[in-house]
C-alpha cells in the first residue's frame, strides 16, 4: 500500500488515518482472544493480571487450573467434553448426509420451486436461536426426546444442515456436469457415479460444510439449554453456568483449549477452501 511519491499531503494524512483505523479494528478483533492465554496460567484465583505476572515472575504462573480442569473433584468437564464430542460428531454426520443430498437436488436445473425450498432449508440459520430453541423443545418434549442425546443430536442436525447445504451448493455451482454424463455413457450406475466421480470432486465443500456443522453443534448453547438434562451437559452449558455464577480461572483453561481447537479447525477449513478452488479451476 505504498503511496506514489506525487501524493498530496492531505491524502497522505488520510492514508495514515485509514491505516490507523484498520490497525485498531484488527486489534479489536483479535486481541480479546489473547487476553485469555496468560490469565489461564495465573497462579492466583483472581481474573486480573497480578503484579507478579506483570513482572514476568515465574512463581506467578502455574498450571493449577489445567490440573483442576482434568483432575478436579466433582469436575463436570470430563463428562461435558465427552458429551460434546459425541453429540457434535453424530450431528455432523447427519448434517452432511442430509445436507449433501439436498444440495445435489437443489443444484439440478430440473429442481422445481427452488427458491422457496432453498429459503426453507436455510431458515434454521436465520431464525433467532431462541425461537428455534422453543420450537424444537416443544417438539422433542412431545415425542419424548427431551433430555436425551438423540434429541440434542436431532436439534443440532437441524441447525447444522444449512451450512452444509450452502457450502456444497457453492461447490456444485462450478461443477462440470458433463463428467457425470460421461460416466453414465460409459456404463456406470448413478450410485457408482456419485461415489467415484461426484463425491471426490465436491469433497472439499462437503468437509468444510461438515466443519461448520461440527462447530455449530460444539458451540451451541441456546437450544441445548432447553433440551439438556443433567446427564446431557455439554462444554458450552458448563461454560454458560460458570460464566453466570463465578468466573473461575478453570473456565479460562477450558477456553484456551477451545481456542486451540478453533485454530486447528480454521487451518483445515482454509486448506480445504484453497483445494476446492484449485479443483474448480479458480486461479488467482
Amino acid at each position: 500500500m505504498a503511496l506514489p511519491s506525487y501524493t498530496e499531503t492531505r491524502y497522505r494524512i488520510w492514508h495514515y488515518i485509514y491505516i490507523a483505523i484498520c490497525t485498531f479494528v484488527f486489534f479489536f478483533l483479535i486481541a480479546p482472544l489473547f487476553v485469555i492465554f496468560p490469565l489461564s496460567f495465573n497462579a492466583e484465583e483472581f481474573l486480573v493480571f497480578s503484579e507478579g505476572m506483570k513482572n514476568l515472575d515465574p512463581d506467578a504462573f502455574s498450571l493449577r487450573w489445567y490440573k483442576d480442569m482434568i483432575y478436579g473433584t466433582k469436575n463436570p468437564w470430563g463428562l461435558a467434553a465427552k458429551n460434546s464430542f459425541i453429540i457434535a460428531i453424530f450431528a455432523t454426520i447427519g448434517s452432511i448426509i442430509l445436507g449433501t443430498l439436498a444440495a445435489l437436488g437443489l443444484s439440478s436445473r430440473h429442481m422445481p420451486y427452488k427458491g422457496i425450498i432453498m429459503a426453507t432449508l436455510i431458515s434454521p440459520m436465520i431464525v433467532p436461536l431462541i425461537i428455534s430453541g422453543v420450537a424444537i423443545f416443544f417438539f422433542m418434549a412431545k415425542v419424548g426426546l427431551a433430555a436425551t442425546h438423540t434429541g440434542i443430536v436431532l436439534a443440532h442436525i437441524i441447525l447444522g444442515t444449512p451450512f452444509v447445504v450452502i457450502t456444497v451448493t457453492a461447490t456444485l455451482s462450478g461443477f462440470d456436469h458433463s463428467v457425470t454424463r460421461a460416466a453414465a455413457s460409459l456404463g456406470s450406475n448413478p450410485v457408482n457415479t456419485f461415489m467415484k466421480i461426484t463425491l471426490p470432486l465436491i469433497l472439499p465443500g462437503v468437509i468444510s460444510g461438515g466443519l461448520f456443522a461440527f462447530v455449530t453443534s460444539f458451540d451451541e448453547v441456546v437450544v441445548v439449554l432447553f433440551l439438556a438434562g443433567l446427564e446431557n451437559t455439554t462444554i458450552p452449558i458448563q461454560m454458560w453456568t460458570g460464566l453466570r455464577e463465578q468466573l473461575s480461572p478453570t473456565i479460562l483453561a477450558v477456553a484456551t483449549c477451545l481456542i486451540i481447537l478453533s485454530t486447528l479447525i480454521l487451518i483445515s477449513a482454509e486448506l480445504l477452501r484453497r483445494r476446492s478452488e484449485r479443483l474448480r479451476g479458480i486461479n488467482r
Binding site: M118, I126, L243
Partner: protein, 420 residues
Amino acid sequence: MSSETKQILTTDGIPLEVSLKKAEKKNKIKAFLLVAPLLLFLIITYVFPIGEMFSRSVDDKMITNMLPKTFKEMEKWDGKELPSEEVFAAFYYDFKVLVEKQEHGKLGQRLNKEKNGFNSITKKLFRQVKRKKIDESISIKEQVMKVHKRWRNVEYWQAIKRTAPPYTMSKYLKGMDMYYAADGSIAQVDEDRRIHRILWLRTLEIAFFVTLFCFLMGYPIAHLLATLPMKYSNLLMICVLLPFWTSLLVRTASWMILLQQQGVVNDFFVMIGLVADDNRPEMMYNKVGTYVAMTQILLPFMVLPLYSVMKTISPSLMRAGKSLGGTPFVAFWKVYFPLTIPGIGAGCLLVFILAIGYYITPALVGGASGTLISNQIAFHMKQTLDWSFASAMGLMLLSGVLVIYWIYNKLVGVDNIKLG
C-alpha cells in the same frame, strides 16, 4: 408448421414432445427426491413446531372446555346486568363437575389472571359445593350470590364471558403492553409498567447501532483486505476468521475479563490518565458491554460479504476515475462506493438479523439495562413457565426477522450467502 413438429417421433414411436416432457418430469422427481429427506425432516421437527407455537400462543380452550354449559347459557345474556338464574345454574353444574375432577383450582387461577379476586371466591364456592350446602331444588342464583359478595358483582361475570372464545390475542397484546379492558376494548398498561415496549425498542436500538458500528469498522478493513497483495491479506484474514471460528462463549468470556472494573481496558484508561484509579467506570452489566461485545462478535459477518464484493471490483476503475479528473474522494464516492452497495446490503442485513435475536452475550454482559427481547422469552420459558406468552413474543420477533429475511432474499438471494 406446428403439425409438422408434432409428427417428429422417437424410435419408440412416441412423439418427441411427449417423450421430452416425460424425461423432464422424471428429472424433476429425481431432483426432488434428493431434497425430500431433509425437507421432510425439517418440516416435521422444525416448521410444524413453529406453527405449533402459534396455536399455543392463541390457545384459550382451557376455560372453554371447563365451562361448556355456562357459555351456552351466556350466549343469551346481554352482559350488562347480572346474568339470569339459568346462567348461574349452568355455572354451578359445570363447577360441580370440576370439583369432582379436582380441576376447580386451575379454573380459579386462570380466572384470577382475567380479574383479580377470582381465586378466593372460587375457593369459597368450592367449600360450599364440597359440603353439599347448595340445595339444587331452590334458586341456585340466590345461594351462589350468598357465598361471597363478589358473585353479586356483574364485572366478575363479564370476566367469565370474556374467556368464552377458544382463541385469544391477549398474549400478543401483553407483548405490546396492552390488555383487554373490562368492556372488551383494548387498553394500554399504565405508563410505569410498560416493560415490553422498552425491551422491543431497546432490541431494535441495539441491533441498529451494532449494525452501524460493524459497518463503520468493517468497511475499512474489508477494503484493506481486498486491495492488499494476497500474501499480506491472507495473513490479516486470519484476524477476521479466527474470531469467526472461536466459540461464542469464549469470546464473551474474554470481554467479561477485559471490561470488568479491575480489567485490562480500565487499567489502560487509568494508565493513560483518562479516568482516576478510584473512579473506574462500570463498563460491564450495562449497554456499553453489550455494544462492545456484540460488535466484535458480529464484525466477521459484516467483513466477509463486503470483502467478497470488493474483491470483484477492478482497481482500474478507481484509476480511471482519478485520471478523468476526480480527486481520490470523488473517485471513491462516485465510483467505488456505489459498486460496494450489494455487499453493504448483504452485510448489514445479516448482522441486523443476527443481532436482533441475540441471547447469550446480552445475558452475560448486559446486566439489567442491556437485556433484549430474547432474554425475556427465555425468562418466560424457564422461570415463569408462561409458555404461551413466550411463544407469542417469539412469533412477534420471528415475523420481524422473516420480513428482513425476505428482503435479504430479494436483494442478495439466499444461495449467495458466503461462508468463510
